[in-house]
Amino acid sequence: MSKELIRLKDVTQVFDGETVLKNVNIYFNDKEFLTLLGPSGCGKTTMLRIIGGFQTPTSGDVYFNGERINDLPPYKRQVNTVFQKYALFPHLNVYDNVAFGLRIPKDAGDGSKEKIKLSKEEIDQRVREMLEVVSLKGFEHRSIASLSGGQQQRVAIARALVNRPKVLLLDEPLGALDMRLRKDMQQELKRIQQQMGITFINVTHDQEEALAMSDTVVVMNEGVIQQIGTPEDLYNEPKNAFVADFIGESNIVDGIMREDKVVEIFNRRFACLDSGFEKDEPVDVVIRPEDVDIVSEAEGQLRGVVTSVTFKGVHYDTIVDFYGFKWLIQTTDYCPVDSHIGIKIDPDGFHVMKKSKYSGMFGDYSSYSEEYDEINDPTIIDEEEAEGAEDED
């Protein structure tokens, strides 16, 4: 897209003998909206803290504009952060919170000892401008406690952006908001990023949020980057079972690549679009639930029995048992439980992946209901995340 701004080179972070980041190599481009996505404990917050300067990596280097900044304290970095739960200063009002960073004399940046101190007029102008950007004009004298969650969120963004950073780090910025507000703020964040024209690095465990806002998404697990790509790439071309499962819903089954564009599952050969595998190489095959058409048993390429049906508004979540393996199928056709059905999959409905350490761990909907609950209960993940943060101290 444009030029490289931040690079992490061979970064490893160990806490109390536990490796949180493993040999991470990644770069961030200027003016892009990038999201670090992964389950709690995957190391995404740690990576953010390393960029912010709150954490020094155990090994490896951090570069900013080509300069190594490992030992640069946070107050000297051209980076600002929107913290989890915002970390607004409760004893200051909205105006003073936003003006906080501007009132602290900064190094001139040219190596001289002199500090730059902004005039009152300039501070005032910049604070008011920024409050306008986040639509909080007229809230100047309100106390933090009197604001709603969404308003506090805007103050936190304004407080960070008013310092004109090159990069804005956002640590689960929408985690404390309710569903509807979250949707609105996603739009808002995207708008602000485009208006300011700077890099946003966002951390979240919510894949929907990541897909909706980001130019680039980095999927992480167990301290390792699994895949980097645009939201479309990640969805359509997941690199392994973990990514396929984490981004959207996926049925993942064992398969064998018989030859280019022919994959075999359940002992049946199907036409697909993938190629470049060895002959007869065992692979993981991803079939997205919406890519499956339900047909009569006779017409079906595979035949199975419906074991549960959930009405979802636009479609039904239908669980079908194929030879002991349970698939999720999203369809607008209603098939009652216990009905025998056939399915058809077009060649572009298959996505073939190399085997990885995640093979066999995901993509079976036998325990569907439990998994579904967990995904929809953000508090569970929140708590785990909070615990993880505590350990990192």
């Binding site: 912010g52 300067g53 709150f54 304290p73 946070p74 107050y75 980076v79 600002n80 952060t81 913290f83 989890q84 739960k85 970390a87 607004l88 200063f89 409760p90 004893h91 200051l92 009002n93 105006y95 906080f100 960073g101 602290i104 900064k106 004298h141 309100r142 106390s143 406690a145 009197s146 604001l147 709603s148 969650g149 308003q151 407080r159 960070a160 310092n163 404390a176 101290d393």
Partner: protein, 669 residues
């Protein structure tokens, strides 16, 4: 159901009554026009007026304020940093340290007090060598070789027991604080130090303020720890009150206690209102729900943001700091300065205007302290925590102190007024060559009885052992007096060293006790009990009888025909007294005829000054415009023929002292 609730409420009311009734009574009697804490004589502010003229009280209030303010300030700053430090540790260390922090608060004050006292004394003992060494190679600072307990040790002690309270109050604020706040401040350009002052400090401020308030009330309240660490030259208000109650509880004590109670209550109310408000805000904050704001508060905050508001805030802060500094400087000047003499005497045992007069005349400041008994004084001296110059013990204690070499010989050339002491009171058995003492007062012990409860004239000690007055007799709570009287009644010497005679005396007392003659053992409670008409007989000092008479006219005093004890309290100087020459000046001043007359008039104990004894009746008439009742005067200063019947205590040998002690314990009561 309804009935039940009523029962519950009644129980709560009863509980609170139980808690507050004594304090309400104390406040009530502080407005008593009369001099008793038992008999109501109408409303008056007299005792409050007297309070503000009582220099001992004023001085100790100054000391208390100085120590409390300084200790609070130091402990608050140190405690805040300590708490922040503790919170920057890992969890593994943090929790045990907080437990260690709690321990001193749970610990008994007496243990803390004694420990600190012993620590200081031990340190002082080693200090001499260190000071000599320090002075030997540098002359910039002259380190004193001899250190004593005083304002400094008191301050250190107060800081040490205040610290945990500050930490205890600050720690929860740190725990509640979003740990990201510091990161956020650093993210916005603060160094850690800037973050501390701009973010952490405002965030934990409520904890610091309540910690400081609690530390302040703890400091003002403290008695036990102060008692052991203040030494002889310093006295806090609580110690002064304690000293006052030892003699008798005049309503001055009620007045000063009332004021102290109110002061502490006000501070606590302020603190509770503040923390209630804070809790509300914290709850709102936790629930993430917007708080509806009082428009007036919003307006005020907007005004505070204007240049004028900021200026006002700065001026207020500066004024408060200045006020604090001025108070501390003023109090320091008031409590320490000028040459001093440290005097230790009994409570209410001097006309206090004499102290002012002496100070005005000589420029020497008098640290006037009190203890409650010869035995307490002795244990203080033995502990090594006291550095008094002048003490005023009783005869038998003097002979013991001389024997142990604890007294310094007096320089009588500096005490010309010694010539005014009546020859009868010189060269007494406790100081046969009169090298160590100048008598202060003398008096007799006799029977005090309530004529309204007794229908005969009492002339013998026998009344104290008589079944007729079962449950009406107060036994003096001190083995020497109680057995001495019994010995006298049996016709023996009070100073006998014959164990059989002493055992016989014990049997007499023990038998009366078995028959239920005695209501109880009393010392200072004698005032309340006798004035209130709650007992018919007591054995006590003539001077105190005269004080009681003011509050109950039915009381009579008699020195029984069998004879009694007469005693002398004399001024002496401790060995190595730091202010020897000042002590001589003080003793000479107090021995003057004028001082003796005024003391006699205030404390009702007889003077050993020939002229004062002679002049008192006419002096009294001049002062009050009425004649002094000669019978009263005869009680105050017993005539020689009465004294001839009486014996003075001399120091008993160790084995006899032990016998007294054992028998006294056997008596039980």
């Amino acid at each position: 159901m309804k009935k039940n609730r009523f029962g519950g409420r009644a129980l709560i009311a009863l509980c609170f009554l139980f808690l507050y009734l004594p304090i309400l009574l104390l406040i009530f009697f502080s407005f008593n026009a009369g001099g008793s804490s038992a008999v109501w004589r109408g409303f008056s502010l007299r005792w409050y007026g007297e309070l503000f003229h009582n220099r001992l009280v004023i001085e100790s209030v100054a000391t208390t304020l100085l120590v409390s303010l300084l200790a609070t300030a130091i402990a608050t700053v140190a405690g805040t940093f300590a708490a922040v430090g503790i919170y920057s540790l890992s969890k593994k260390w943090r929790d045990p340290i907080l437990v260690v922090n709690d321990l001193p608060m749970m610990n008994a004050d007496i243990v803390t007090g004694v420990a600190l006292c012993l620590f200081f004394v031990a340190f002082f003992r080693g200090w001499g060598g260190i000071a000599r060494w320090l002075n030997s190679w540098q002359s910039l600072i002259d380190f004193p070789e001899r250190l004593t307990l005083g304002l400094g040790t008191l301050l250190i002690a107060h800081v040490s027991f205040n610290l945990p309270y500050v930490i205890l109050n600050v720690a929860p604020r740190l725990r509640q604080m979003d740990s990201n706040l510091v990161d956020a401040a650093q993210d916005l350009g603060c160094t850690w130090i800037q973050a501390f002052f701009k973010v952490i400090l405002p965030e934990i401020k409520p904890g610091i303020v309540s910690g400081a308030l609690i530390a302040f009330t703890m400091s003002v309240d403290d008695f036990v720890i102060s008692y052991f660490t203040a030494g002889s030259s310093t006295q806090t208000l609580a110690m002064t009150i304690y000293g006052m109650t030892k003699k008798r509880v005049t309503p001055v004590v009620n007045a000063v206690s009332t004021l102290m109670f109110l002061a502490v209550m006000i501070v606590l109310i302020i603190n509770n209102v503040r923390s209630a408000k804070q809790a509300k805000i914290a709850a709102k904050r936790a629930s993430m729900e917007p708080v509806r704001e009082n428009p007036r508060v919003v307006k005020f905050r907007e005004w505070m943001a204007t240049p004028r508001g900021k200026l006002t805030r700065r001026v207020t802060a500066a004024a408060l700091c200045a006020a604090f500094l001025v108070t501390v400087v003023f109090l320091t000047a008031f409590t320490t300065s000028r040459p001093v003499v440290n005097v230790c005497s009994w409570g209410e045992y001097i006309d206090e205007s004499l102290i002012d007069e002496f100070e005005a005349e000589t420029g020497i400041r008098v640290n006037y302290q009190t203890t409650d008994s010869n035995e307490t004084l002795y244990s203080l001296l033995e502990l090594g925590g006291a550095d008094y110059d002048v003490i005023v013990p009783s005869d038998y204690m003097i002979s013991q102190l001389i024997e142990e070499g604890r007294l310094e010989e007096l320089d009588y050339s500096q005490i010309p007024n010694f010539e005014l002491i009546d020859p009868r009171f010189r060269n007494l058995p406790y100081d046969p060559e009169n090298k160590y003492t100048v008598p202060y007062t003398w008096g007799t012990v006799g029977i005090i009885y309530n004529a309204a409860m007794v229908d005969e004239e009492i002339t013998s000690w026998s009344a104290l052992y008589d079944d007729k007055y079962a449950g009406q007799v107060l036994l003096i709570n001190n083995s020497r007096d109680a057995f001495g009287i019994a010995l006298k009644y049996l016709g023996y010497s009070m100073n006998t060293t014959d164990p059989n005679e002493i055992r016989e005396a014990y049997e007499l007392v023990a038998d009366a006790n078995r028959r239920g003659v005695f209501q109880g053992k009393v010392m200072d409670e004698v005032f309340q009990t006798m004035e209130g008409g709650n007992a018919a007989f007591a054995t006590y000092y003539a001077g105190d009888y005269l004080s009681m008479l003011e509050n109950n006219e039915d009381l009579r005093f008699v020195i029984p025909e069998e004879g009694s004890n007469w005693f002398v309290d004399a001024m002496c100087v401790l060995k190595d007294a730091p202010n020897y020459d000042n002590a001589m000046k003080w003793i000479n001043f107090i021995a003057s005829t004028d001082a003796n007359l005024r003391n006699m008039d205030t404390i009702w104990y007889a003077s050993p000054n020939t002229k004062a004894l002679e002049l008192y009746p006419s002096w009294y008439e001049e002062q009050y415009g009425e004649e002094l009742d000669p019978d009263i005067y005869a009680i105050m200063a017993a005539p020689q023929e009465v004294l001839d019947r009486c014996e003075m205590y001399i120091c008993l040998p160790r084995n006899i002292r032990k016998l007294y002690n054992d028998l006294w314990i056997d008596l039980g009561i």
